[in-house]
Symmetry: C2
Subunit: 925 residues, 2 copies
C-alpha cells in the first residue's frame, strides 16, 4: 500500500519521493513550458505567461515573443487595469536601462543605486565604477587597506572576495550618502577582521581596511556611525580597566529572589540590515543546542555556567542554520529614571593592536574592548567563484565565549562592574569539514569578586593558629618527655616534638579549611543581596594547599599514634596462687596454675585493640546514603540553588571542590557525632560495652592488666578476683558468680571497699629499670633467635618462662605494696591536671596511681582516640572525593584504607602483645 | 557612558530602547509623512510617495492626491519606464474592480478568485456569495455539517470561526476548480475535527463537516485529493489490524550498525500550502526542546525513548514559535527498486466514530487510522473578533505522542510492521494560560514483539523445574527425617518438607528469573539483526511475580536454616583428667580441672558462628564500585547501546528493571565467586583459616566439640590433646608446643596415627536418649527458673554442674569406646553418599563416624552455607534495587539487613550455646 499517485500534467504528482521530483523537475525545466513545484503544482517557466491558472495541474502557459530575454509577462497594469483594456495577458519588453527583477514580474533599474551615478546612460557600468553591484560615480582611493581576513588555529590570513567587493561601495555609500546600512556593513567588516589595527605614528604603515576607514569617516560624521569602540576621545582606544571599572550599573543583584542577567542583542545581517533587538534568552548567542531551561540557566545570576558541545563542522557551512549575523550586546538594567541599556564590552582574544595580541595580556589595562562580534562567519572567505553555490574555504566560529561578572568590591549592595564577554575564535577548513571533522564550542559564565580582604583574614588566621598549635605541641612534648622519663632533650624527643607539631597543625588546618569551606557554602547559597562569590585563582590554590598539607600532617599523626600504641609495654599479672599438690611428676620450676586464663584475657585484649567507638561501616553507609542517595551532594553546585532535590531537566552547574568538601565533611562529622552520642549514651549503657566487659573478665579471671604506654607512665586495670581464685571448675565458677551477684563478697577495687578498678599510673624509675632488666634480654633473644636450633629454643622457652614468672611476681608485689623499695600511693587527679592532661607531682621515687573514670586505658587502644580517627577519616574521605569527585568511591576507598590501617594496627598490636605478655601468638585469634 | 543618540529626522535615532521607539512610531504614524523602521530608517507612510530616498534619515515624502484612498504611488512602470516619460513619481488611482494590495505597491483584483464569479461587476460582493475572502458564483448547500471543533480535557466543543469561514469556499474551490491548496485545506479541517465521523445508514444524521464533504468529493474526483484515510474500498475505513499487519516494509533493522528509523514529514500550512517534505530529525514533531543529539535519539532503532517536559501554556499562543502546521508522516525505507515511502498510520485517541472512541479499544481491529495530524492548534477557536490581534480561546496540543514499532513475529530478519503513532490531545484555555498555567507534553517510542513463544517456553521451564525441585525437596525431607530419627511422618516432618520445598523452589525461581533477565540483556544488547525486544505486559508481570515469589521463598529458607542452626545441640567434651591433689578445702563433687579452657573454646566457637566465607563489606563495596562508580549500571538502559561509559550529553533511555536485575545479580554473583576463590584458594591457605585455627585450638586445649545438628546426626571435632593434658602453666605449654612442632609426640587424629580430627556422625538412638535424659531437665529448669529465689538458684547450679559432669563423662566415654552398649565405627563415606548427602547404613544401633574433608561441621555455621547466603543476598540486593532503582541504596540496605540477620543468628546462637554447653553467657563475648 504505497501512496497512490495520479498522472495529470507533465510532472504533476508524477513523483514518488523528493529525489525523483527533483530529477523530473530538472528535465522539465529544460524542455517545456511547465515546471513543478514539489511535484504538486504546475507553474509557468520564466518567459512564459499563464493562459489558464486554476492551480494544481490545471495550468496552461504560452511563451512570450522571443525578441529578447529582457521581457516581462504582464497580466495586469499597476493600477489594476487589464493590459490594452482587453482580458488578454501580454508580454512587454523592458525599457532601456532597466532589467527584469529576480521574480520576473516587473522591470527595474539595473541596480537600486545606479541612480547615484547621474551620468549613467546604459545598464552597462564601466569596470572602474563597479563596486558591490553598485555603479558609483567614482571609486574612492583607499590607501593602507588590506582585504584579507585573519584566521585562527594556524591558518594564514585569507584574501576575502567579500571584503574586496563590499569595501569601497560601503565606504562611499556611508560617507557620501550617509546610508545607514552601508555604515553598518562597514562595522560588520570591522568585526570580520577582528578590528585589527596598527597605530604607528605619525602615519599608519599597513593597516586593515576597516579601522582606518572608519576613523576617516568618524572624523567626518562621527555621530552617524554605529558605536563600535570604547574610546577615550572618540578615536583612541580606552584602556580596558577604565572601561571595566565603571560603576554606573546600579542594579542590586540578589539570589533570593533569583534574578536574571538581562542581556539584549541587537542583530545585523552581513549587509548591514538591522534585524531587531531581543533578549539573548533561548540560546541566541549559544551555538550549542539544548533545552530552553538549560540554555537560559546561563543568565541566572550567580550560576557558574559551562556548556560545551561538539558540532559536525560541515553544518557550519549551512547559512540557514548558522546565520552569518553580527551582534551588539547590551545589559538591560533599571535606574530610577527607568530602563537603561549599557553596552557590553567584548574582549576579542584574537584582536591585534600593532601586531600584538594585547587582549591576551593578564592586565586588563592593556585590553582594547569593542562592541560587536559574530558567532559564525561562513561568508568572508568565499572564493573567486561567483556562482550561487560557492562555498567559503574556511569558516570561523566562536570556540569559546565566556561572560565575566565581577562584584563591585567591599560593598554588600550586590552591584556589579560592567560584565564583559571574552571570545576566542576557531577556524575550520572546508577540506577538513568535508572529511568529517567536528568542532567543539563552549559557552561559560564566570563570577568573581575581590578576595583581598578574604586573603588577609586567611593569612592572619593561619599564622595565629599555627603559632598557637606549635606552642601546644611543645607543651605536649614536655609532658611526654616527663612521662617517658627523659632527663634531657634527645633525638627521640625532637622526633616526638615533630610528630606532635604535625598533629596539632593538622587539626588547626582542618578547622581552618573546613571553616572556610563551610562559610562559603552557607553564605554563598544563603545570601540575598549578593556580596561574595566562590574564591578563585591564588586564594583557591592556597586553600587547597592548606587542605592537602593538613591531610599529610594528619597521616603523620596517625602513624605516630599507631607506632606508640604498637610498642607500649603490656603485662598480664596473674594473681592465682598455686594449689597445694602432691609432688608427683611436676617440674620444680613450674607452678601448677593454668595459663589458660591468661590466654583468654590476652585474646580478648587483642580483640578490643582496634575496636572503634563508632561503627565504621554504618558511618560510611550513612554518609553515602545522605550524600548520594538523599542527594546532599546536589548542594555543592556552583549556583544559587541550595536545594537537595534538583529537577533533572534543569541545568546543573559544575560542583565546587570547596563546597563538596564542606558538605562531605559536615555530613561525615555529623553522622559520627550522632553515632558517638548513640553509642556512648544508649548502646554502651543499655546493650553492651565491650570495654567494660573486658574489665569484668579481668576480675572474673583473677588477672590484672599493666600497660606502660610510656616508660614511666601507664594504665592499670585491677583484676584481682574477690574470691582469691579463679582457676577452678564449672561448679565453683557458678558459685562465685552467684555470690558476687548476691553481694556476699568484697568489692573489686584496688583499695579496700572501693569499686575503682582502673588507674592512670605515674611509675617510679626503679620499677622501670627492674622491668627492663628482666624483660629486655628475653625480648631481644626471642626476636633474634628465630630459626635457631632446637637446643637454643629450649633455652629461650625456659628463659621466657623464667622472665614471665619473675615479672609476674615483681609486678604483683608492686601492686600489693609488698616491695620495700618501690611503692606507690593512690590519688585523685586535680582538675587542672585532668584538663592539661599531665601530672604535677614527681613520681620518680614513689609511684602514683590516679583514679580515673574507668576509661583512661582506652587511650592505649583505638577506642580512646575516636576523635583523632574521625578527623583523619573525614580528611581522607574528602581528599579522595577531591580527586575523584565521587562520594561513593570516596566512601568505599575510605573504608578500605581505614580497614587496612586497622589491620596493620591489629597485627602490630598482636605481635607486640605476644612479645610483651609472652603469650604465644597462636592463641591470639 | 550610555549609547549616544543623534537627532536627525523626526523619529530617526531618537530612541533609547525599543519601547520608546514603539511609542514614538505610534505617534508619528498618526501625524506626519514618515514612519520609522526600528528607529533606524525613515520610511514613507502609506499614501505617500518618495521624493528623495537615500536611506537612513535622508528621506522625503510627498502625499498622493487625496481624491480617494484606493491610490498607488508609481515610481516606475512595469516595463521599467518612468511614468509619463519624465523623471517624476506620480500617484495613480486603482481602476474599477481593483484594490490596493497589502504592500500598497500595485492594484489587484478585489480577490485572487473574484474572477471565478463571471458576472461580478464591482468589488463589492453580496453576502450570500462571500466565503473566506472569495466571492463565489453560488455557495454550495451543505447538509449535515457542523462547524465546531471538539476539545479535550472536559472542555465542550467550540464553534470555530475558522471552519465556518473556510469550509464552503474550500469545498467549492476543491470540487469545482480542483484547487490543490483548497483540497489540502479541507484535509486540514479533517485533522482539526479529529476526523470525527458518524455513519448511521442509510443516511448520516448529524456528522462533522469534513468527512462527509470529503466523501462527496472523493466520489467525484478521488485521485486528486490528499490521501488521508486507510480505506477498504476508497470510502469505508479499513480495520486497524489490517493496516498494521502489513509486511511490505522490507528493511532489515539492525543494532550493529545502529540504524535510524527514517521518518519523513510532509508539512502543510493551515490554508493548504505545501511547505516541503523533510526528515523529522531535529525535533520537528517534538514539542519539547533539547539538544539535537538527544532529540534525534528518539529515532535510533531500538531506543525506548521517553521525553516529557512542561511548557508555559501562554507560549502556545505564539504562532511563530508553535506554528499551526499539519503533518503527513512517511517511513522512508529501501526496496530493491530503491527508496520507498510508506505512510505512517496515525491513531488519534480522541477520534469519534458514531460517537464511540473506537481508537481507545484494546483490540486494534476496532481502530480507524488516518494519516494527518497537527502538533498545536492555536487557530481554530479564534472568536468572532476579526481584528489581527484576536487570540483563540483554546489551544489544543499533543499531550502525548507515542510511536509504536512491532517486529514481524517468528522471524529473525529484523523486519517490522508499519509503525503507528498514537496521539492524545490536550486542551488549555486562554483564561488558564493567562493565569500562568503550564502544560506537559511527552514524546515516546516503544517497541514490542510477539511474546507467545517466550511465554510458552517460560511456562514449560517453570513447570518442569518446579516439579523437579519439589521431588528433590521430598528427598531432602526423607534424609532429614532419617537423621532426626523420625520413624513416621509427623507434623514436624511436614513443616520441614514445606521449608525444603521453599528452599529448592527459591533456587529454581532464581535460576529461571536470572536466566531470563540475563538472556534478554545479552541478546537484546548483542543482537545485530533485531529479533527480540524487551518483554512487556503480561509476560513481564509473570516474570516479576516469579522473582518476588523466589525472594519470599528464599526468606523462608533462610529462616529455616537459622532456626535449625540456633537449636542444634552442642557440647564441649573436656578430656582433662583431674590432678592428684592434697585433699584440703576442695569440695568433693568438683574436679579440680579448670573450666577456663572450655570458656575459651566456647568463646571462639561463638565467634565463628556467623563468620562468612566471603567478606560481606568488601562484597557490597565492590558491587557498588562496579555498578555505580565504574558504571556497569549504564548497561541496563533500554536501548541498543551496551557501553559502560556513556556520554553525558547523549540521550539516556530509562532503565529496564529486568536489565538492572540481570546486571546487578551478575555483578553480585561474580564478585562473590571471585571472593570465594580468593578466600578458599589463597587466603585460607596462606594467610589464615579461622575454622582451621579453631580445630587447632581444640587440640591445644584438650577439648572436643560434639555438635548434634539433628537428633541422630551431627559433627564431631576431635580435640583430645596428644599430650594427655592442657590445663597447665606457661612453661609446659611452650614445651608441649615445641614437642609437637618437632614431631616428638603422637598424631591428633581420633584413630591412632591419623590426622583425621573432624567427622560426620550418624548416632545410635540410645546415645540420644541418654543425652536427652540428662540434659533436658536442666535446660528446662534453667529456662523456667529465671528470677527464682536464691535457694532454687543454688539447686540449679548444682544440677547444671552435675549434668555437665555426667554428659562430659558419658560423651567422652562414647568417643573412647568405653561404653558397653553404645559404640561406633569409623568409616569413609561412599561417593554416592557424598553426592546425595545422605547415609545409607543404619546407625540406630551402632553409631558411624564418617571421615570428612575437615569442613563438614561448617554446615552448622554460616561458613558452610555460603552459597545459600549469597543467593539470598543477591535476591535481596536486586529486590531492593527493583523498589528504589538505586544500586547504592540497595547495597547499603542489603548490608544492613544481612548484618541484622547475622546479629540475630549470633545472639540466637549464643543463647543456644550457653544453654547447651552450660557455659555462662557472660564469657561468650
Amino acid at each position: 500500500s504505497e501512496i497512490r499517485l495520479s498522472h495529470d500534467c507533465v510532472c504533476y504528482r508524477e513523483i514518488k519521493n523528493e529525489d525523483d521530483c527533483a530529477e523530473l523537475q530538472k528535465d522539465i525545466n529544460t524542455l517545456g513550458n511547465l515546471a513543478t513545484n514539489w511535484g504538486l503544482d504546475c507553474i509557468c517557466n520564466p518567459g512564459y505567461y499563464y493562459t489558464r491558472n486554476f492551480g494544481g495541474g490545471e495550468v496552461t502557459c504560452a511563451k512570450c515573443p522571443a525578441n529578447q530575454a529582457r521581457i516581462t509577462p504582464v497580466e495586469r497594469e499597476l493600477n489594476g487595469g487589464l493590459p490594452d483594456g482587453t482580458n488578454q495577458r501580454v508580454c512587454r519588453a523592458c525599457e532601456a536601462y532597466t532589467w527584469l527583477n529576480s521574480g520576473g514580474t516587473r522591470c527595474v533599474r539595473c541596480t537600486d543605486y545606479l541612480k547615484t551615478t547621474t551620468n549613467l546612460t546604459s545598464c552597462t557600468c564601466i569596470d572602474t565604477q563597479k563596486a558591490d553591484g553598485l555603479c558609483l560615480p567614482s571609486l574612492p582611493t583607499l590607501t593602507n587597506v588590506i582585504t584579507t581576513v585573519p584566521l585562527t588555529d594556524g591558518f594564514a590570513a585569507q584574501f576575502s572576495q567579500l571584503l574586496d567587493k563590499q569595501l569601497k561601495a560601503a565606504y562611499l555609500m556611508c560617507q557620501e550618502n550617509k546610508n545607514e546600512t552601508a555604515c553598518q556593513t562597514l562595522g560588520n567588516m570591522c568585526a570580520l577582521t577582528f578590528f585589527e589595527y596598527e597605530d604607528s605614528s605619525p602615519k599608519p604603515q599597513h593597516v586593515t581596511c576597516t579601522r582606518i576607514l572608519y576613523r576617516r569617516i568618524v572624523q567626518d560624521w562621527q555621530s552617524f556611525l554605529p558605536d563600535l569602540y570604547f574610546t577615550r576621545d572618540g578615536v583612541v582606544a580606552q584602556d580596558g580597566d577604565r572601561v571595566l571599572d565603571d560603576e554606573s550599573i546600579t542594579t542590586t543583584y540578589t539570589f533570593d529572589p533569583p534574578m536574571n542577567i538581562k542581556i539584549l542583542a541587537a542583530s545585523y545581517s552581513q549587509n548591514g540590515e538591522f534585524l531587531g533587538i531581543d533578549s539573548v534568552l533561548g540560546g541566541k548567542i549559544q551555538l550549542c543546542s539544548d533545552t530552553t531551561t538549560r540554555l537560559n540557566a546561563a543568565f541566572v545570576f550567580g550560576t557558574y555556567y559551562s556548556h560545551s558541545c561538539s558540532i559536525q563542522a560541515i553544518d557550519l557551512w549551512d547559512q540557514t542554520k548558522y546565520k552569518p549575523e553580527f551582534y551588539d550586546l547590551f545589559l538591560d538594567f533599571e535606574l530610577e529614571a527607568g530602563r537603561q541599556i549599557y553596552p557590553v564590552p567584548i574582549k576579542l582574544n584574537d584582536y591585534l593592536y600593532s601586531r600584538k595580541e594585547v587582549n591576551q595580556e593578564t592586565d586588563s589595562k592593556d585590553w582594547h574592548l569593542v562592541k560587536r562580534f559574530f558567532l559564525v562567519d561562513n561568508i568572508a572567505t568565499t572564493g573567486a567563484a561567483t556562482t550561487a553555490g560557492a562555498q567559503p574555504d574556511y569558516v570561523r566560529y566562536v570556540k569559546s565565549i565566556s561572560m565575566n561578572l565581577k562584584l563591585v568590591g567591599s560593598t554588600s549592595t550586590g552591584q556589579i562592574f560592567p560584565p564583559y564577554i571574552s571570545i576566542t575564535y576557531g577556524t575550520v577548513s572546508l577540506v577538513d569539514a568535508q572529511q568529517g571533522a567536528s568542532i567543539s564550542t563552549s559557552f561559560s559564565v564566570d563570577y568573581e569578586y575581590s578576595t583581598d580582604k578574604y586573603r588577609r583574614d586567611f593569612q592572619i588566621s593561619v599564622g595565629t593558629l599555627s603559632t598557637l598549635s606549635i606552642i601546644y605541641a611543645g607543651y605536649r612534648t614536655w609532658v611526654w618527655s616527663k612521662r617517658a622519663g627523659k632527663p634531657a632533650i634527645d633525638f627521640q624527643t625532637i622526633i616526638n616534638f615533630l610528630f606532635f607539631v604535625s598533629g596539632s597543625l593538622a587539626n588547626v588546618f582542618f578547622v581552618i579549611t573546613f571553616g572556610i569551606a563551610f562559610y562559603f557554602l552557607t553564605f554563598f547559597k544563603g545570601q540575598n543581596t549578593v556580596f561574595l562569590f566562590h574564591i578563585t585563582g591564588l586564594a583557591e590554590r592556597e586553600w587547597l594547599a592548606l587542605f592537602g598539607t593538613g591531610f599529610a600532617l594528619k597521616c603523620l599523626q596517625m602513624a605516630h599514634m599507631i607506632i606508640m600504641q604498637c610498642t607500649a609495654d603490656v603485662f598480664l599479672i596473674d594473681w592465682e596462687r598455686p594449689k597445694h599438690m602432691v609432688a608427683t611428676s611436676e617440674k620444680k620450676t613450674g607452678s601448677n596454675v593454668s595459663i589458660w586464663r591468661t590466654y583468654f584475657v590476652a585474646n580478648e585484649w587483642n580483640e578490643i585493640q582496634t575496636l572503634r567507638k563508632i561503627n565504621q561501616i554504618f558511618q560510611i553507609f550513612a554518609v553515602i546514603f545522605f550524600l548520594n542517595v538523599v542527594g546532599f551532594e546536589n548542594v555543592a553546585t556552583k549556583d544559587p540553588d541550595g536545594r537537595i532535590i534538583k529537577d533533572s531537566t534543569s541545568y546543573r552547574a559544575v560542583d565546587s571542590t570547596m563546597f563538596r568538601y564542606a558538605i562531605g565533611a559536615s555530613v561525615y562529622i555529623l553522622v559520627a557525632i550522632c553515632q558517638w552520642i548513640f553509642f556512648t549514651l544508649i548502646y554502651e549503657r543499655f546493650i553492651e560495652d565491650k570495654v567494660r566487659q573486658f574489665v569484668d573478665l579481668c576480675s572474673m579471671s583473677n588477672i590484672s592488666v599493666f600497660v606502660m604506654a610510656h616508660a614511666q607512665f601507664g594504665y592499670y586495670i585491677h583484676g584481682k578476683s574477690v574470691h582469691g581464685k579463679a582457676d577452678t571448675n564449672m561448679g565453683d565458677m557458678f558459685d562465685m558468680m552467684r555470690r558476687e551477684e548476691e553481694d556476699l563478697c568484697g568489692k573489686r577495687g584496688l583499695l579496700p571497699d572501693t569499686e575503682q578498678q582502673t588507674f592512670m599510673m605515674a611509675l617510679p624509675r626503679k620499677l622501670r629499670v627492674k622491668y627492663e632488666t628482666v624483660m629486655l634480654p628475653v625480648a631481644l633473644e626471642g626476636a633474634g633467635a628465630v630459626g635457631a636450633a632446637g637446643k637454643s629454643k629450649d633455652a629461650i622457652i625456659s628463659a621466657k618462662t623464667q622472665a614471665y614468672n619473675v615479672v609476674n611476681k615483681f609486678l604483683a608485689g608492686f601492686v600489693d605494696h609488698s616491695l620495700k623499695e618501690i611503692d606507690y600511693v593512690v590519688k585523685d587527679k586535680t582538675l587542672l591536671e585532668s584538663i592539661m592532661d599531665t601530672e604535677f607531682l614527681d613520681a620518680s621515687e614513689k609511684g602514683i596511681f590516679y583514679n580515673d573514670d574507668g576509661h583512661s586505658f582506652d587511650r592505649a587502644l583505638f577506642y580512646g582516640n575516636e576523635s583523632a580517627l574521625v578527623v583523619f577519616d573525614t580528611l581522607l574521605f574528602c581528599i579522595i572525593d577531591l580527586i575523584f569527585q565521587n562520594f561513593v568511591l570516596a566512601g568505599v576507598l575510605t573504608y578500605l584504607i581505614t580497614e587496612l590501617i586497622a589491620m596493620g594496627r591489629d597485627s602490630g598490636g598482636r605481635m607486640n602483645l605476644a612479645k610483651k605478655t609472652l603469650v604465644d601468638q597462636r592463641f591470639l585469634i
